[in-house]
């Protein structure tokens, strides 16, 4: 066990516990954007950066993926940390001025107008990589990936064309921290503008409500190796059936 002092609160943790875990335990809020407990923390947005003192020296580390390997003092509110959060948000606000989540965080941490050219776009993507991780590690389909490098880096379908492997499950939509991916269900079809991909929606055999795409059903059948009632009935009717 290692001794931890986080924002003055003292506790003990098992080796390997992340700073974010400890913070959550002690109900201390650390802002995050690219973190999701269902996938490996990439440490890409840097929003969760905190100041620590360990092995006799001070440094800044990301809370989401820093494993505690010794006695440590953690400050989640130091001047350096607060300044860094503001600067990160200032650049993100300039990048995605229409993102409600970024606007919210900016207001919370005291960022008003960025000192930079504001991008004229309604794109809300901050390239956190969560959509790619979800598709690959949670769903197991790997229909999208990151591409290009540097300021052009972004999640796309291969060759930025319609995907032939996407199943239209919408996991990317749910996991995105800034609502940058839209999913439009209309007239029996599901369309993802960002992925230029469209699916037919399948209706519940009981009530007729659309509940899955045809591709999702095919995929699940293949993975499970067999058919299943959940592929024929919407969640509500499924409960009634069982």
């Amino acid at each position: 066990m290692y001794k931890v002092k986080i924002d003055g609160i003292e506790t003990e943790v098992n080796p390997g516990t992340t700073i974010l875990d400890v913070a959550n335990q002690e109900l201390i809020e650390i802002p995050t954007l690219c973190f999701n407990e269902n996938v490996e923390p990439r440490g890409a947005c840097r929003m969760c950066t905190v100041e620590v003192e360990v092995w006799g020296r001070k440094r800044l580390v990301t809370a989401c993926n820093y494993p505690i390997q010794a006695d440590i003092v953690i400050d989640t509110q130091s001047e350096r940390v607060k300044k860094l959060r503001r600067l990160i948000l200032e650049t993100l606000l300039a990048r995605t001025p229409q993102s409600e989540r970024i606007q919210e965080l900016a207001q919370k941490y005291g960022v008003t107008k960025p000192r930079f050219n504001i991008e004229k776009t309604d794109d809300k993507c901050i390239v956190c990589g969560l959509c790619v991780q979800a598709c690959k590690d949670i769903v197991g389909v790997s229909a999208i990936g990151l591409s290009e490098r540097g300021i052009s880096r972004k999640p796309t379908t291969p060759f930025e064309e319609t995907s032939h492997t996407c199943i239209g499950c919408g996991s990317c939509v749910y996991i995105c921290p800034t609502d940058a991916i839209t999913m439009i269900d209309k007239d029996g079809k599901r369309f993802f503008p960002r992925w230029k991909t469209e699916f037919k929606l399948v209706g519940c055999e009981s009530c007729g409500a659309y509940f899955m795409t045809d591709a999702q059903i095919e995929h699940i059948k293949k993975v499970m190796g067999k058919d299943d009632p959940s592929l024929h009935y919407c969640p509500n009717c499924l409960i009634l059936k069982r």
Binding site: S142, G145, R149, T156, P158
Partner: protein
């Protein structure tokens, strides 16, 4: 598209997924760019999802997803070359060929590129044309050089 050439490349690298960058370099040497069809084929053969291949193909500067010209001219933009006037050389070539770096002339003769240091730092400004390095370039001799190569 002759995919047997791709098979040879994959075989040479023992179908090792860790050799992806080298495999794509060999593909580019063979086809002068990375054709979509070949990338899909490599994805299939190496059992790497195509988004990952596309990621690698668009991340590294060595690769081009568009066909390149007959002569590839790379102007070195390393610090030593910069300090000795590389920007003027680039401007000269841009204006002579009438294209931006990354583009190919309409007659497919030249592709202009920039490269971040070829290690010939003592003799800059340097340009690499078709694997041959030309040194101590000036605006004047850069134009002469392009004209000479354009005739080939």
């Amino acid at each position: 598209m002759d995919l047997t050439k791709v098979d040879k490349i994959l075989e040479h690298h023992k179908n090792d997924r860790a050799m992806l960058v080298a495999i794509l370099q060999d593909v580019q040497d063979e086809f002068r760019y990375l054709p979509k069809e070949v990338l899909n084929y490599v994805s299939q053969k190496l059992e790497i999802p195509i988004p990952e291949i596309y990621n690698v193909a668009t991340f590294y500067k060595a690769f081009s997803l568009k066909p390149q010209g007959k002569h590839i001219c790379s102007v070195c933009m390393g610090t030593a070359c910069h300090v000795r006037g590389a920007p003027v050389i680039l401007e000269t070539m841009k204006s002579h060929l009438k294209i931006e770096p990354g583009q190919t002339t309409p007659d497919n003769k030249f592709t202009l590129k920039t490269v971040n240091c070829v290690g010939a730092c003592a003799v800059g400004p340097v340009a690499d044309i078709d694997g041959v390095q030309y040194d101590n370039l000036t605006a004047r001799n850069a134009i002469t050089l392009l004209k000479k190569i354009g005739k080939e």
